[in-house]
């Protein structure tokens, strides 16, 4: 059987870049999808040169949903061209403006939801029948601890991720029947551009470690995972704080 292919959605992010390299190191082919074509082309040559696997780049904008049919068509064609291995999906995109920026411009709320949630549903829903048909494969999507509880600091982004978590639960339920696994990974603090220079961070994990964990979870067919794992404890505590108290806090 030929090597699997990973479609990486939002491939310019630190975690996605690390994921593409890790997957290629394991011999998988890679399709990089995102908006910054120049950066994706550079990322693609990097993966190709380092690991000698097949790599392709496809333009993808989560917010422009009427392009998603064509996008999924192109991805299917590329994946078939790579060989008979199954198509897998790593979803790493999202838009997280400062909550204060959203408060000043409610249109940003709409964009955040489109990019983080609606766009994700749109593309995954178009990929689902293909995955069902192939009868195997993995979907790994980055959720967020922000989706576990609405907080004053980023509740619009958090609500979009919460929506994504629920969608992934349903998708898992559906694809399980045809042998496809769906894993929700909720990262804590990862050392990315998003967190660089943020005060008060602790035990920050590297994007490489996160990427390796995502591949491991996929291979196991894990359902929901926090990374690093101790975030499960933190979020369990945060989720259990009664609302009358929580509304007074600013964590």
């Amino acid at each position: 059987m030929s090597a699997p292919t990973w479609l990486v959605l939002g491939a310019s992010s630190s975690i996605a870049r690390a994921f593409a390299l890790e997957a290629a190191a394991q011999g998988c082919n890679v399709i990089l999808a995102g908006r910054d074509r120049d950066d994706l082309d550079h990322g693609a040559s990097d993966v190709r040169i380092r690991h000698n696997v097949a790599v392709a780049v496809v333009d993808f904008d989560a917010e422009v949903v009427d392009t998603h049919d064509a996008f999924v068509g192109e991805v299917t064609g590329l994946s078939t061209g790579f060989g008979t291995g199954p198509l897998n999906v790593f979803l790493a995109f999202g838009l997280m403006p400062d909550q204060s920026a959203i408060d000043g411009d409610p249109d940003q709320a709409q964009r955040t939801i489109m990019a983080t949630y609606a766009g994700a549903v749109s593309v995954l829903h178009r990929l689902a029948p293909i995955l069902e048909k192939q009868g195997s494969g993995h979907v790994v999507a980055l959720g967020s601890v922000a989706g576990d509880r609405g907080r004053i600091k980023n509740y619009v982004y958090g609500s979009a991720k919460a929506g994504l978590h629920a969608y992934l639960q349903g998708l898992r339920n559906r694809l399980f029947r045809s042998g496809v696994t769906v894993t929700t990974v909720k990262p804590g603090f990862i050392d990315t551009t998003m967190t660089w220079g943020m005060p008060g961070l602790f035990l920050v994990a590297s994007p490489q470690a996160c990427a390796r964990a995502c591949l491991r979870y996929a291979a196991k067919g894990a359902e929901v995972r926090y990374f690093p794992a101790f975030w499960w404890i933190i979020m369990t505590i945060i989720r259990s704080i009664p609302e009358p108290i929580f509304k007074r806090l600013s964590i």
Binding site: D39, H42, D46
Partner: protein, 449 residues
């Protein structure tokens, strides 16, 4: 772009710097960054494997290049690679050794970046054969202090090219490097080790090896005195025609030093024991072994963060080169000064260099180079000053990538092309937007014209 306040050190951990650091992940972001305003200059910082203050800019800004590490293009016909400056030698070995290529030359650690290799014009154990890293560079993309991006090569803006090779980062931020990898028949080397009883014997052995061997390096017992002074092990090596069965191109196993060792762990007694054992582990008749090339090139990389064995105060590394004709007298004086000081040095490294590099501030010259580590203790700075003085007396120079203590006058005498270097910097960086602790300490830019 967000600036993060952090503390950086050189590899020897004797010098620290509080900096505002940013870490661009894409090349265009790095170009934009350099257009900002910096009161105390900005400097590119790779992985901090320079020992002293060359990679530091205390109180100023630094641009971390570690995430600018993409490989851009590779031609398997002639081994030409274009990569971003944050790619490490470890990356190069991982990607290319299985395909029969390796870097043309390499410093003593694989955790150095390609950008750092250019900025320090690094050399390896094959300098007599292939020269230093800068000799293999076809062109560079550089972001000038003005924020302008330019390509430089031996034919395009050759002055700026010569200032950048070995220019300790002062011409701007190196973005891309194009250089040629070397084709190798295997991932292994056949290493021959022989005991050298004293300094004269050692120098004769190295003189012969530089003409005949692919790689050569000597390990000297820096504690040995009297007739045994300068004794040690001479290693010569050639690329093996094939890999021994079952070894292939596997990456070596790595261990880490989990904590700083206490200051007393390394003392003259323990170091002496270690050096003795190192000498005696090679039988009197010598021996020949086949080793994975990385194990041969990077014996210390097997232990991550090995600099922690020197404790919190850190250590100095001293490396100089003296011309062939002066070497016998100079090396004797250097070794005497070291053993007199009882400073306690782990194995000293002695090897030959083949000739001058292409950069204005390139370290190599034809001669003998000596490198030693000294735990940082009271009085060791005096010893280093003494070693620098001996080096100067004999027409040699000290390696900027290792240095933390040289003074401006000594530096200017060691680097005769400093005038040319200053001219280039005055034209591309009149406002002195690129600075480092090293450039200020050694007054590399000179008085304002």
């Amino acid at each position: 772009m967000t600036w993060k306040t952090m503390t950086l050190t050189g590899w020897g951990r004797t010098r620290r710097a509080e900096v505002a650091a940013c870490r661009p992940e894409r090349a265009p972001a790095a170009v934009r960054l350099l257009q900002g305003r910096f009161d105390r200059g900005i400097l590119a910082y790779g992985l901090g494997r320079s020992y002293g203050d060359a990679p530091l800019n205390d109180g100023g800004h630094v641009l971390l290049t570690e995430r600018l590490n993409r490989m851009v293009s590779f031609d398997p016909d002639d081994g030409t690679l274009v990569c971003e400056a944050g790619v490490t030698f470890d990356d190069l070995f991982a990607a290319f050794l299985p395909r029969g290529f390796m870097p043309p030359t390499s410093p003593g650690t694989s955790f150095a970046t390609v950008g750092g290799a250019v900025a320090n014009d690094v050399h390896g154990k094959n300098h007599d054969r292939v020269g230093s890293f800068g000799d293999h560079v076809l062109w560079l993309d550089l972001v000038l202090p003005s924020g302008e991006q330019v390509r430089v090569s031996p034919t395009e803006r050759p002055d700026l090219f010569a200032a950048t090779i070995g220019g300790v980062g002062l011409t701007g931020v190196i973005l891309h490097v194009c250089f040629r990898l070397r084709r190798v028949a295997s991932a292994s080397v056949e290493v021959r080790e022989r005991r050298m009883p004293d300094l004269d014997g050692f120098m004769a052995g190295l003189a012969e090896a530089r003409e005949t061997a692919g790689y050569s390096v000597g390990w000297i017992d820096g504690m040995a005195r009297g007739a045994a002074m300068g004794r040690g092990i001479l290693e010569t090596a050639e690329t093996a025609p094939t890999d021994p069965a079952g070894t292939a191109a596997k990456a070596p196993r790595k261990r880490a030093v989990p904590v700083d060792l206490p200051g007393f762990a390394l003392n003259p007694f323990s170091i002496n024991l270690f050096n003795q054992a190192y000498y005696r582990r090679v039988p009197a008749a010598g021996r020949t072994r086949t080793l994975p090339v990385r194990q041969f090139l990077y014996p210390l990389d097997a232990i991550h963060d090995w600099n922690r064995i020197y404790g919190k105060r850190g250590f100095y590394q001293f490396q100089n080169v003296v011309p062939d004709a002066e070497a016998p007298a100079a090396l004797r004086k250097l070794l005497e000064a070291i053993s007199d000081a009882r400073a306690g040095s782990f194995l000293a490294v002695l090897k030959t260099l083949g000739g001058e590099g292409r950069g204005h501030l390139s370290f190599p010259m034809r001669g003998y180079t000596l490198a030693l580590d000294f735990p940082r203790r009271d009085g060791v700075e005096d010893l280093l000053a003494r070693l620098a003085a001996i080096t100067l007396d004999h027409g040699g120079r000290v390696y900027l990538a290792k240095d933390a203590v040289l003074d401006p006058a000594g530096f200017a005498r060691m680097y005769p092309r400093l005038g040319e270097f200053r001219q280039v910097l005055d034209s591309i960086d009149p406002d002195r937007r690129i600075q480092s602790d090293l450039s200020r300490r050694l007054d590399i830019r000179g008085a304002v014209a």
